[in-house]
Symmetry: C2
Subunit: 138 residues, 2 copies
């Protein structure tokens, strides 16, 4: 896709999204070519607009209560490939090209803890140390 | 995995999950072999226990305010292959084997609306009619 998308298209996307009482919608990030689910975070209207304008994924940080341009401090940006909305408009699926690692722990994916017959097991290695990624947190 | 998992393992999984103020956690369902993201729904403690006991995915329906054994009315069950927890414990990723279709509209995935340069576009066909799936909704 070519960014920015038209104001008309962005308006249609916003109209199709059901934001919750806090004005947020969950967004799943999936690596576009491998299918790996990388993370889930939240977007508000402004984050959706920012993402569809720039083609770089922008979330809303609930802890910091502000827009979170993914990778702004770590460099681990997500380039948007596709933006999908689910059947009832209350969840987004973002197909992205993830630079480096998605997780603030330095792992490729946030979903690295697996429940197994023998209890919980870590299934992904730290690829970049948090120190390499940040002075502070992403 | 062999179900039920041990009470000890289920206890460890529950302890690793941060349920929100409503006692819920979002759960992403992904087809285990193709990587397709099928849907996102919510679980409470009981749904997690039910899922890890039976190896069949059980959600909590926010609209009906009760456990929702996926496929109980439609037959489109999800067999659990892997159960993963994210880095801060507030999102689950379920690798499943989806029988038939995940979406109540009869599409394989709920994420069938794509934002494109030319506006919103449906990218998945209805494979089973809602009438074929239910008398009423799933």
């Amino acid at each position: 896709m070519t960014y920015p998308l038209s104001a008309n298209t962005i308006e249609k996307a916003l109209a199709a999204i059901s934001f919750n009482d806090d004005g947020l919608v969950p967004a799943i990030a999936q690596q576009h070519d491998t299918g790996e689910v990388l993370m889930m975070a939240w977007m508000n209207r402004e984050a959706v607009i920012e993402t569809l304008n720039n083609g770089r994924v922008c979330y809303f940080s609930r802890s910091r209560e502000k827009l979170w341009h993914k990778g702004e401090s770590s460099g681990q940006v997500q380039t948007l490939k596709n933006f999908r909305i689910d059947c009832d408009g209350d969840t987004l699926l973002l197909l992205v090209d993830q630079e480096g690692v998605a997780c603030h722990t330095g792992r490729r994916t946030c979903f690295y803890t697996e429940v197994t017959d023998e209890g919980l097991k870590e299934i992904a290695e730290v690829e970049k140390s948090p120190e390499e990624l940040y002075g502070s947190s992403d």
